[in-house]
């Protein structure tokens, strides 16, 4: 948050600034380690690992063994039966629906927001600012809160219980953050570049395609991940705006499966493990983009 600008005054003015690069003595380097924080990190690491370990471990157990309560010991009779049960309960259908919802949401958000952000950055008028402000207002509206009117509206529009009923609201709710990030990125493109393109007689559309989009690829990838994550992980829209089995997505499907399996907890855990795999793979492949997309969830 632009700390560099206000950092200088808070440094003690009586201390002359005379730092030169040198190797610190060993005692000083040891002092830099922070045992309390290291310990906290270690404890938290355990807190994160244990449930995940139990999830994967118990998902390999037959139901009887899991009910015996020895969840921390490696599965004695490891079996993939739970996984095959999940895969035969229509898991691929859930996955397919989820992929469709996610991809269409991303596409919709980008198609709408990229030109809009460009217009807001270039127009600089009072009206563009107003549009931007209205969108920022949307940051303050949490999805669960307006689900009632949304439900009534979606029913009246005749798209209730279709994948569109999930896609449209999800995309709309991803727009404020998307716009915020894209406007921020596009503002960083220097004025000279626009001017030189204008001098060569480029139209706005050409500027958008040949200058703005290539230069804001980092922002675009961030918002794609952000929109994709909120579509991939969203529960409340599919829960309330769809009801039939063929429109189940991963989140509502997991919920249905877990109540269907009941006391067969290992099967539920196998479904949970499977549901995490696509994101885990994505995380390993595109860690940087994913992390900055997650940061976008924070509404910054």
């Amino acid at each position: 948050m632009a700390l560099t600008t206000d950092a200088q005054p808070s440094a003690d003015p009586e201390t002359p600034y005379r730092y030169e690069r040198r190797r610190r003595p060993l005692s000083m380097r040891l002092r830099r380690t922070n045992p309390a924080a290291g310990l906290a990190a270690l404890v938290w690491l355990l807190i994160v690992i244990v449930p995940v370990y139990v999830m994967v471990n118990a998902s390999l157990m037959p139901q009887g063994e899991a009910l015996g309560g020895k969840l921390l010991e490696p599965a004695a009779h490891a079996t993939f039966a739970n996984y095959s049960l999940v895969l035969h309960s229509g898991f691929f259908h859930l996955l397919l629906n989820n992929i469709i919802v996610t991809l269409v949401t991303i596409a919709l958000v980008l198609v709408l927001c990229v030109p809009l952000a460009f217009a807001i950055v270039r127009a600089r008028g009072a009206r563009a600012l107003l549009v931007f402000r209205v969108f920022l207002l949307g940051l303050a509206i949490p999805a669960p809160v307006i689900i009632v009117p949304l439900y009534v509206m979606v029913s009246k529009m005749g798209i209730y219980d279709s994948l569109w009923a999930i896609i449209l609201p999800t995309a709309a709710f991803a727009m404020p953050v998307t716009l915020l990030v894209l406007v921020g990125t596009m503002r960083d493109i220097s004025e000279e570049l626009y001017e030189s393109m204008a001098l060569e007689g480029a139209s706005s559309a050409q500027m958008l395609v040949r200058l703005v989009i290539p230069l804001s690829m980092s922002g675009i990838s961030t918002v794609s991940v952000f929109a994709g994550l909120s579509a991939w992980n969203g529960l409340i829209f599919p829960l309330i705006l769809t009801q039939s089995p063929q429109n189940l997505v991963l989140t509502t499907g997991l919920w249905t499966l877990s109540s269907q399996y009941g006391v067969n907890v290992p099967a539920t855990l196998a479904a949970l493990t499977l549901s995490g795999i696509p994101m885990l793979v994505l995380y390993l492949v595109a860690r940087r983009a994913l992390v900055s997309g997650v940061m976008g969830v924070g509404g910054k």
């Binding site: 906290a40 949307g138 303050a140 509206i141 949490p142 307006i146 529960l235 997991l254 910054k300």
Partner: protein, 278 residues
């Protein structure tokens, strides 16, 4: 246009419905005055839900902020094996709230094992942690923390990386110890980061729905019914859209007010760049 249709219009429509009595979606809605708002003001269930939501918010903040700050600042430095560590740390980020809630519901199932072995340690001899009001609240705070801690840690890590190293060097020359450095440099320099993270925790906890819905179902009884879950129950179990809308509108007003207040109090003025604090 599109955004307006799905976010702004519902907000206005929600305000309208909140004046329509106990309309349940049959026939058309008519304005009947402020009955819902009156009922909202007098409803003891809502009062309890409000208290619970505030408790949940405060406890979540107290739980997440210190730990996230500690680990975030620590992770901003150079450590060995940090890549491996952060990969493991961020596992909760790739799981959905739904998956996380269902996972903990399974783990905390008293018949299934983990809860009955952990329960006695923390004062639940029969392992039925979710069956007690305080246990349910504690688990909501814990599961929320489990899910969002890596995210806030990331925010603090980003914030701490932006603190100029020269400040610490100057302090070291002045003979300031590590703890003094933390309180006089790290903490003041992180104030914007703290605001951002706090606003997110507050708004997130105020409107948390998924964890309550899946993990505790508002129970035992109504002991863990938060405001947004009460709204869901009113709308989709009792089919009283008017009342649920009044509740939702009040919730938006409160959460907006609170975040504006937090932002003002901490002097976090204009957002100059979207990448601030990352």
């Amino acid at each position: 246009m599109f955004f307006g249709l799905f976010a702004v219009v519902p907000m206005a429509y929600s305000l309208f419905l909140s004046f329509c009595g106990n309309w349940g979606g049959i026939g058309s809605a008519h304005v009947v005055g402020a009955v819902d708002w009156q009922r909202l003001y007098q409803d003891s269930t809502i009062r309890q839900a409000t208290r619970l939501t505030v408790e949940l918010t405060v406890l979540s903040w107290l739980f997440q902020t210190p730990i996230a700050m500690l680990i975030g600042v620590w992770a901003a430095g150079r450590q060995r094996n940090r890549a491996v560590l952060s990969a493991i740390f961020f596992i909760p980020l790739v799981l959905s709230s739904t998956a996380i809630s269902l996972l903990f519901k399974a783990l905390l199932d008293p018949n299934f094992g983990l809860a009955s072995s952990i329960g006695p340690w923390i004062g639940f001899s029969n392992g039925n942690i979710l069956g007690s009001p305080n246990g349910a609240l504690a688990m909501l705070v814990f599961v929320g923390g489990w899910q969002f801690m890596p995210f806030h840690t990331l925010i603090y890590q980003g914030g701490a990386r932006q603190i100029p190293k020269t400040l610490y060097q100057a302090a070291e020359i002045d003979g300031a110890g590590r703890i003094a450095q933390f309180f006089h440099i790290t903490l003041p320099q992180l104030r914007h980061t703290i605001t951002t993270s706090s606003v997110l925790i507050v708004v997130g906890s105020l409107t948390s729905f998924e964890t309550v819905f899946l993990l505790t179902g508002g129970g035992p009884g109504s002991a863990s019914t938060t405001l947004s879950f009460a709204m869901y129950q009113n709308a989709f179990q009792d089919f009283n859209y008017g009342y649920a809308s009044a509740l939702g509108t009040a919730l938006v007003a409160v959460s907006t007010l609170l975040s504006v207040l937090l932002v003002r109090l901490t002097g976090f003025g204009t957002m100059r760049s979207t990448r601030e604090g990352m």
